[in-house]
């Protein structure tokens, strides 16, 4: 793989001018990161597990129906089953999607540092930020491909149950991707400081947990300002500052609004572009952080 990738980059670099190499170099890196990524056994394992859970959700509800359908109207039970399928699948996509995102984001750079491929690549006419851009892009391609695969199977499972394409869920899947993007960017940044993927993986899990607990900081702030003691107020202000700076991944959880409210619901219409912008800004922060950290790395 490493010989193949360096050959590709070398050829790309020699064929094009400076401007071309700005785009083609990272793209070549992204392409081989993608090829490498889809061959990773851990990721394949996660993906297969998630597909198994999504596929299995229909069997789970079929089993439940035998205990409940006799007790109530069939219509409502079928809707309960569809809801349970939706919730299981959305949870499976969220859990396995985030695990895939963290593992791939945490491993792409450290693996190449570990097996020294990075030295060969950086000896080519390719700057470090281009290398990182290619790696980051490759990670995103893998994350998107996994998300698309899981979502497609989910939609098929739902179609088999309800007979309609849940097109609104596409919005939910899109927002889920931007949630993954933020976690991916910061995990990627941490991975640029490490020579092993263990630390960035743990860091990625913490980023996800912290991102989901930022509303807890807001609660701390609200409770803190109620108290008139100086220490409580100070803690409240620190919590509020962190609440503002840290990414709040709960913001992306709009599945219920998207699914259950009218399609032209004003808050949802306004929130979606704002959330996309929010995700992109944090992703840019994560990428630039990775740039700075990688630039300072002794190679």
């Amino acid at each position: 793989m490493s010989a193949e990738s360096t050959a590709v980059i070398s050829a790309e670099g020699s064929r094009s001018g400076v401007l071309g190499s700005y785009i083609r170099g990272p793209w070549a890196i992204a392409a081989y990161t993608w090829k490498e990524g889809i061959r990773k056994k851990t990721l394949l394992g996660f993906l297969l597990l998630s597909l198994l859970v999504i596929f299995g959700s229909t069997f789970m509800t079929a089993f439940m129906a035998s205990t409940t359908i006799s007790s109530t109207t069939a219509n409502v039970e079928i809707e309960v089953e569809a809801k349970i399928i939706k919730d299981i699948c959305v949870s499976a996509i969220a859990i396995f999607g985030i695990l895939i995102t963290i593992f791939i984001s945490a491993s792409v750079v450290p693996t190449e540092l570990e097996n020294k491929v990075v030295y060969t690549i950086l000896s080519k006419p390719l700057r470090r930020y281009q290398y990182l851009a290619g790696k980051f892009l490759g990670v995103q391609l893998i994350v998107i491909a996994n998300l698309v695969l899981m979502s497609t199977l989910f939609f098929v499972a739902l179609y088999a149950k309800e007979g309609i394409w849940p097109s609104l869920l596409l919005w939910s899947a899109l927002l889920t991707y931007f949630q993954f993007l933020i976690v991916s960017a910061f995990t990627f940044a941490v991975s640029c400081t490490s020579t092993s993927s263990v630390l960035p993986t743990i860091a990625g899990l913490f980023i996800y947990i912290i991102g989901n607990l930022t509303e807890y900081l807001q609660d701390v702030y609200e409770k803190g300002v109620e108290s008139e003691r100086l220490f409580d107020t100070m803690i409240a202000n620190i919590a509020h500052g962190l609440y503002l700076v840290l990414p709040n991944l709960r913001n992306f959880d709009m599945k219920d609004q998207i699914l259950y409210l009218p399609s032209n619901d004003p808050p949802v219409d306004i929130m979606i572009p704002n959330l996309i912008a929010y995700g992109l800004v944090f992703a840019a922060v994560g990428y630039l952080l990775a740039w700075v950290l990688f630039a300072r790395k002794e190679l």
């Binding site: 109530t72 349970i84 989901n212 509303e215 609660d219 259950y260 004003p266 929010y278 630039l288 630039a295």
Partner: protein, 531 residues
């Protein structure tokens, strides 16, 4: 390694982007807060339009609720901030006054207008007030759809921060697991253990509409099926519902409250309105007016075809015959031109309308005759006093009353005849049980007016078994006829009389207003006019 100069540029870019992300984060927070306020305004508008109070709980340890006060301020803001909207057929309250413009906007799905209003700078102080009250748990009409942490504060009294954050994004999944447990309890027959879990389940997932539907059904039907009826003296007065309730009725109201909570959180799901209107109010609480109210709302949102059918049936039972005829007519035009029930119930409602007009014409005739007698007496008194002008005036009024009585006699005859003309072909063509029962009932009433009480009772006896939906109504009529004729009552009739007597002793509500089908100045002026 010494950082290169562009590294500082990147660091500067990071700082700028972090600042931007903070701004965007604050903006999203603001949007979330506006969203909560907007959803509360929508929900409160809906509750207000349906005549529900925004502060229903009577928990003694609860601080004063601020819902009504805050909503009044929102209404004032909307008065000035919303454009004038057309007043449509459903935009009137019980007193026939048009609804407030905000309530109309919510009913007419003018979501963008409402959102722009609540997101405006003028609404900012109200939004802040809303969040302050929400944080202090002072809004009873707002619930876990805004802050799931309220669940813990309210139900388990755990003080502290939002524990539900710990569920990450898997609250819905947790709600499903709880619901499976509810289902297990149901199959084990441990109904009493279901309610807390049902509440927890919908608190975790406020959009779990099926849990509301099944939960209410369990409460109102399965749980109460095993309970005995409560004798009238043992019923307790419930200030919240302003009614004396037995054990069964208490559960019906718990089910109704459960569905109302679902409506608050999912105001545009027709199934909640339908179940509340049809399954609870129509079939369990036998409150046809409320059933019509909620079924009308169920029809407003995307719904199945049985919704209008049940609405028109509820209208029929509520005495809104003209509305039901119009509704069934629309059903034939728009949904199913060959619908046999629609064709049948148009005829049934016409028959009932004719009978109702005839019955009210008879009442009006009696009232007019009484008025004529009274005016004649007054005229005599005035003449005795020597006040001829006053006497002349009373004589004139007595003449008018006599004319009305004559007119009403003719109208009653005409309408009874109309009803007969409707019922007879229905019997000849389909042996329609409603038509048979109504015709027998009519015959019985004629027998009563002619003093043939035994024959009347015999006809009513047959009528009540023809149409079991009217069994109680016709049985009561039989008792009335027997009492009038001095005939002995059966044991079950004596028990029914005793039940009615007891119920009357404990009656706490005003009787429902009668719908007026004809114009009659001699009848009670306070009754409603349907026409």
């Amino acid at each position: 390694m010494k950082p290169k100069s562009y590294t500082w540029h990147v660091i500067a870019a990071i700082v700028i982007l972090l600042f931007l992300s903070t701004v965007q984060g604050a903006r999203l927070s603001g949007l979330r807060e506006t969203e909560s306020f907007y959803r509360w305004v929508l929900s409160a508008s809906l509750q207000s339009r349906l005549g529900q109070t925004l502060e229903p709980d009577e928990a003694p340890d609860l601080a004063e609720a601020m819902d009504e006060e805050l909503f009044a301020k929102v209404l004032d803001l909307a008065e000035a901030g919303l454009p004038e909207l057309p007043i449509e057929e459903d935009d009137f309250d019980n007193e026939d006054n048009p609804h407030h413009v905000l309530l109309r906007a919510a009913r007419q799905d003018e979501d963008k207008l409402i959102y722009d209003l609540v997101a405006s700078a003028e609404a900012r102080p109200l939004q802040d007030e809303f969040h302050k009250h929400l944080a202090n748990n002072l809004l009873q009409s707002a619930g876990t759809q805004f802050r799931a942490a309220l669940l813990y504060d309210k139900e388990t009294r755990v003080e502290g921060v939002g524990l539900t954050s710990l569920f990450f994004n898997f609250r819905n999944f947790a709600a499903n697991l709880l619901w499976l447990q509810v289902d297990k309890f149901f199959h084990r027959g441990e109904m009493h253990r279901m309610l807390p879990l049902m509440r927890m389940s919908v608190a975790l997932d406020p959009n779990f509409v099926d849990a509301y539907l099944l939960g209410a059904w369990h409460l109102a039907y399965n749980l109460t099926a095993q309970l005995p009826d409560t004798p009238e003296p043992l019923k307790k007065f419930h200030p919240k519902y302003k009614k004396r309730l037995g054990i069964k009725e208490e559960w019906y109201y718990v089910a109704a409250d459960f569905l109302k909570d679902g409506i608050k959180k999912n105001p545009r799901d027709y199934r909640l309105y339908f179940d509340l209107g049809y399954a609870i109010y129509e079939n369990k609480l036998i409150d046809h007016a409320k059933a019509v109210l909620y079924l009308t709302d169920a029809r407003r949102y995307q719904h199945d075809t049985w919704v209008p059918r049940m609405l028109y049936l509820a209208m029929w039972r509520n005495g809104q015959y003209e509305d039901a005829i119009k509704g069934w007519g629309n059903y034939l035009e728009e949904i199913d031109p060959d619908s046999i029930p629609a064709i049948r119930f148009i005829q049934v409602n016409r028959g009932y309308l004719a009978e109702a007009k005839a019955a009210q014409a008879d009442e009006c005739k009696a009232a007019a005759q009484a008025a004529r007698k009274r005016f004649a007496e007054l005229a005599d008194e005035a003449r005795e006093r020597g006040d001829l002008q006053q006497a002349g005036q009373h004589e004139s009024e007595a003449r008018i009353a006599q004319e009305v009585a004559t007119e009403m006699t003719a109208l009653a005859e005409e309408e009874w005849e109309n009803a007969r003309k409707i019922w007879t072909p229905m019997i000849q063509m389909d042996e329609d049980n409603i038509a048979i029962a109504r015709l027998r009932r009519q015959k019985a009433m004629r027998n009563v007016s002619e003093g043939r009480y035994l024959e009347a009772v015999a006809e009513l006896e047959l009528a009540r078994y023809e149409m079991l939906q009217s069994f109680d109504e016709i049985s009561d009529l039989m008792i009335e006829v027997k009492q009038k004729a001095g005939l002995p009552l059966t044991t079950s009739e004596l028990r029914a009389v005793e039940r009615h007597r007891e119920a009357a002793l404990y009656e706490t509500e005003d009787p429902p207003k009668k719908i007026r089908y004809i114009e009659c100045t001699y009848l009670d002026e306070t009754v409603d006019t349907e026409a």
